[in-house]
């Protein structure tokens, strides 16, 4: 049963739905100015591209400001509990490979309480698209630091400054065997859309880190990467096959360190060419550490490598077993093993 969809899935619509069709009737309840609005608009704008009918798309989220996302999309959706969306979505995606399953999560939801489910989803390579809204703060609980907050951050729970070293979500994902990892910005709709497109096209778990501004509790966290005056200096836009150049008019280069890592090079150095598709995760990992080496912050697709998906393998195994053993018969199952029969007493009614 598990590999036959439950209901006949309607054909792709003749005239694809528009962004409007993906807007639910619920009032959007984020703070005015929150970066989540821009992401919502971008996602609503992108979804028609999937070429799927609304009923075949599901958004699952955890808890946090960002996790309100599913309410605002007219697809199937679940606003679950804190940190558990990847686990819930795994069950859904494995049991319903015919659906397009998306996870929306925050830096606290995904990396603090939900860290384990995230890394296991990545390792298994379940066919999920995970959008991680990273605002480097806990928004919904009114401003505590998160696992991506910079050390020394003064927040409600760290009035003397936080002491934890933050996660680098891209490094963490790569360490967890991720096949697809990308990063983008809430405010750059075009880039965000291109990354969503790449993630959707990827078979398996795709993690998309979206730098998102929380204008109430952590305003301007990514300003350097957005402001016209500074962004060229601080952002490296990744493109598969292109040399890694950045800076005003692309005057700066990224070069390889003898140790294997990356660092900023001189203008006339030969820039390393970005290869998102190499099976070796080392180049992508090196990219994730570039800012630490004094380099720019890469955005775009770090890694996009196909390996078998978990849900695909489950379905395939199910088919194989069924082909070998035939569909199960409950009567045979119950009556299997060593059985014996107590006959009805002579003359009694047969049943």
């Amino acid at each position: 049963m598990s590999d036959t969809p439950l209901l006949t899935i309607a054909e792709r619509p003749a005239s694809p739905p528009s962004a409007r069709d993906f807007r639910s009737d619920q009032e959007v309840r984020w703070c005015p100015g929150c970066g989540d609005y821009a992401i919502l608009a971008a996602v609503q704008g992108f979804l028609p591209e999937l070429g799927l009918r609304r009923e075949n798309i599901v958004f699952v989220s955890g808890i946090g400001c960002s996790s309100r996302f599913p309410y605002y999309l007219d697809t199937y959706g679940m606003h679950s509990i804190h940190g558990r969306a990847p686990a819930i979505a795994t069950g859904l995606a494995v049991s319903r490979p015919d659906l397009s399953v998306w996870v929306v999560t925050g830096d606290g939801d995904a990396l603090s309480i939900g860290g384990n489910h995230l890394i296991h989803a990545l390792r298994r390579n379940v066919n999920l698209k995970i959008l991680l809204f990273n605002n480097r703060i806990y928004g919904l609980t009114k401003g505590q630091y998160s696992p991506t907050s910079e050390t020394g951050k003064i927040t409600k729970s760290t009035p003397e400054g936080s002491l934890d070293h933050p996660f680098n979500p891209v490094s963490l994902a790569l360490g967890a065997e991720a096949g697809f990892v990308a990063r983008t910005l809430d405010s750059d709709r075009k880039h965000l859309t291109s990354v969503l497109r790449a993630a959707a096209a990827h078979e398996g778990t795709a993690l998309v880190e979206i730098y998102q501004n929380c204008n109430i509790f952590n305003d301007g966290a990514f300003e350097r990467l957005k402001a016209p005056g500074t962004r060229d200096e601080h952002v490296l836009r990744l493109e598969h096959g292109a040399p890694m150049r950045y800076g005003p008019a692309g005057v700066r280069t990224v070069v390889r360190d003898p140790g294997g890592g990356l660092r900023p090079g001189a203008a006339d150095d030969a820039a390393v060419v970005h290869d998102a598709h190499t099976s070796d995760p080392v180049p992508a990992f090196a990219l994730s550490r570039l800012p630490e080496a004094g380099g720019p912050t890469p955005i775009g697709v770090f890694r996009s490598v196909r390996r078998p998906t978990y849900d695909g393998a489950v379905a395939e195994q199910g088919r194989r077993v069924r082909a070998a053993r035939g569909p199960g018969s409950v009567a045979d199952l119950l009556g299997g093993g060593d059985t014996w029969t107590v006959p009805a007493p002579f003359g009694s009614e047969a049943r």
Binding site: L7, I9, E55, G91, L99, H120, R322, V342
Partner: protein, 622 residues
């Protein structure tokens, strides 16, 4: 040699040895032989939490107890008539409960000085020699040497040959009780199909044991235990964990739903995961999750997608799942949560049995979070209880907790194989279209509009056009399911969720009261795996002329509708439980009846004799 065969009506044998000695296998085979012969049987495997503690030590002892009889039995027996002790530690660990007069079969080859010390006997003293076994019928047999001798013709390393002694012992006991041997021979040939020489060696050891009984004088002519009368039908022996897995598969099949199990291994529940993993061709998907929370989360996700989501665990795992169960309560989706209880608190006694998760199952979540709770009462009953859990989950769109325990999980008994069409029909009745109209008259879908009868909400699964909707753990407005912080709505929803669970009672059959004389003034009320010991004790009480009524609860929330009335009919109500009185407290809270609680938290089932004494004391004083 023709010797006299003694007829007896029931026998309890306890096989005991090192964890590595294969006692569980011997027990399983003896059970199969006895059921095929037609006895009624009840079994109780009793093994340590360690995988294989150092050989010869007390903590490493693994035992298997079986009672078989020419009449219906419902427990593995309070005490053994025969103890098979493969080494000194096995003897020492099991002598405590052994009544004088019992047969004790020991492997003398193992009673070396070193082994005696390992078992904690004072240096230089063997229980075989110091008179401490006076009063028992000791059969000192050189099991190891005899086995090795019997296998001389096989080209086996000595250690491997020695391992055959469990089969030798099985053969000997099979002879003693005139068990049929064909099934065991067939079993061994299949088990070692890939290594025929091992199969032959095992069969040879088994046969040698049989022949040893036949040729030695010391066992007389053996015993005969006649077959037990039974309802007509096809039977098999089944453990609780397997029956539970089969019940889930059968119910999912009846409902036409794919079964999705999200689980994390934990003793004593893991075998349900193992069993279901072997049934992929039934459309069963098993997902070994990273932890218990992910296990139930994935199951809930699958339920959202239209599968029958199931998760299996034991007490500590149930604790971890509690937040997600609360979400399932709020989402009102079908979900079956199986808790195979073990000794607690905390890690507790992982391989022992207990009934101490009842209150956790009922209340272990934040907020008013009602969940139907059921319990299975015997290994075979795990099947029916699982079917019932699925029926309730699907019909009422609710998570259901099904309680089993370590004793049911691993214990076994003959089970009448049901016909598939005896099973209830379970109708998922997915929503397929609008169920309401908007303010402006447009047809729309309200995910929290309830069935007036069951109060269940519609189950609309992704892929169904036009029913797109969002659910979540925040409080929802009645009918529309939109987020609502409204005070009156919250009060209404809290009461409605409770009322929905209460509605289940309407569909339950009346309680069955076992009171042959019809004149009892004392009721013994149990739940879960105490059913067997309670039934046996009541039988004994009645045999001794006492009058006692007995009823057993499968449904712990809601209680059956007629429970209050039933309780009111008796002068005294005794509730035996393997906890500190959890059900008793619930009954007192609910009904104006002063129930009496009889508790024992020893990691093992009640002894029939203890229960009998307790019941007789109550019955004497009405």
């Amino acid at each position: 040699m023709s010797q006299r065969v003694t007829s007896v009506s029931r026998v309890v044998i306890r096989f005991a040895g090192d964890s590595g000695d294969g006692m569980q296998l011997v027990g399983d085979r003896f059970t199969a032989q006895s059921t095929l012969f037609g006895n009624d049987v009840s079994t109780f495997p009793d093994f340590p939490a360690e995988i294989r503690a150092p050989g010869g030590t007390l903590p490493g002892v693994s035992a298997f107890q079986i009672q078989f009889a020419d009449h219906s039995v419902s427990t593995p027996g309070d005490a053994a008539d025969v103890l098979v002790a493969m080494n000194p530690a096995a003897l020492r660990a099991n002598l405590g409960g052994l009544p004088r007069g019992a047969d004790v079969i020991v492997d003398t080859d193992e009673f070396t000085g070193r082994n005696l010390v390992k078992a904690g006997y004072p240096a230089g003293v063997s229980p075989l020699a110091d008179g401490s076994l006076a009063g028992y019928r000791v059969h000192a047999v050189a099991l190891t040497a005899l086995t090795v001798g019997a296998l001389r013709s096989f080209d086996l390393p000595r250690r491997d040959a020695e391992r055959g002694r469990n089969m030798f012992a099985l053969g000997l006991l099979s002879w003693m009780y005139h068990r049929p041997t064909e099934a065991t021979v067939a079993f061994l040939r299949e088990k070692f199909a890939r290594r025929p020489e091992l199969a032959a060696a095992n069969v040879a050891a088994f046969t040698a044991g049989w022949n040893y009984g036949e040729t030695t004088e010391s066992f007389g002519g053996g015993y005969r235990v006649a077959s037990a009368p039974r309802e007509p039908g096809r039977y098999r022996t089944i453990t609780g964990n397997r029956a539970l897995a089969y019940g889930l598969i059968a119910a999912a099949d009846r409902a036409g739903l794919p079964l999705f199990l999200g689980s994390y291994p934990i003793t004593p529940a893991s075998d349900i995961l193992h069993e279901l993993s072997r049934q992929r061709h039934f459309g069963v998907t098993t997902f070994q999750a990273e932890d218990e929370i992910a296990g139930i989360g994935a199951a809930l996700g699958a339920s959202f997608g239209g599968s029958l989501g199931v998760t299996t665990t034991s007490g500590p795992g149930l604790a971890l799942k509690s937040e997600t169960i609360g979400l399932a309560v709020s989402l009102e989706l079908p979900l079956v949560i199986v808790d195979v209880q073990r000794g607690g608190p905390s890690t507790g006694l992982p391989t022992k049995t207990e009934q101490s998760d009842l209150l956790q199952a009922l209340y272990g979540r934040n907020g008013e979070s009602p969940v139907p709770v059921l319990a299975a009462s015997s290994p075979g009953d795990c099947f029916g209880a699982a079917v019932e859990a699925v029926r309730i989950a699907v019909t009422y769109r609710t998570p259901v907790v099904l309680l089993s325990d370590g004793y049911l999980a691993n214990g076994s008994e003959p089970w009448r194989v049901p016909e598939v069409d005896e099973l209830p029909v379970i109708a998922p009745a997915f929503a397929t279209g609008p169920n309401a109209v908007d303010a402006d008259g447009t047809p729309c879908f309200q995910p929290y509009l309830r069935d007036p009868d069951t109060l269940a909400r519609p189950w609309a699964v992704p892929g169904t056009p036009g029913l797109e909707h969002r659910v979540g753990g925040l409080e929802k407005a009645d009918r529309t399911g939109e987020i609502s912080y409204d005070a009156a709505n919250h009060d209404h929803m809290v009461r409605t969720r409770r009322a929905k669970v209460d509605r289940i009672a309407r569909g339950l059959p009346p309680l069955v009261v076992d009171d042959p004389g019809g004149r009892a003034e004392v009721l013994v009320l149990g739940w879960g795996s105490t059913a067997g010991p309670i039934a046996a004790a009541c039988t004994e009480v009645r045999a001794a002329g006492g009058a006692v009524a007995r009823a057993h609860l499968r449904h712990l929330d809601p209680f059956p509708a007629d429970l209050g009335e039933l309780l009111g009919r008796y002068r005294r109500v005794l509730v035996p439980e393997m906890n500190l009185g959890q059900l008793a407290g619930l009954l007192r809270a609910r009904y104006p009846v002063d129930v009496e609680s009889l508790t024992q938290v020893r990691g093992m089932p009640f002894k029939v004799a203890e229960l009998r004494t307790a019941i007789e004391k109550v019955a004497a004083d009405v």
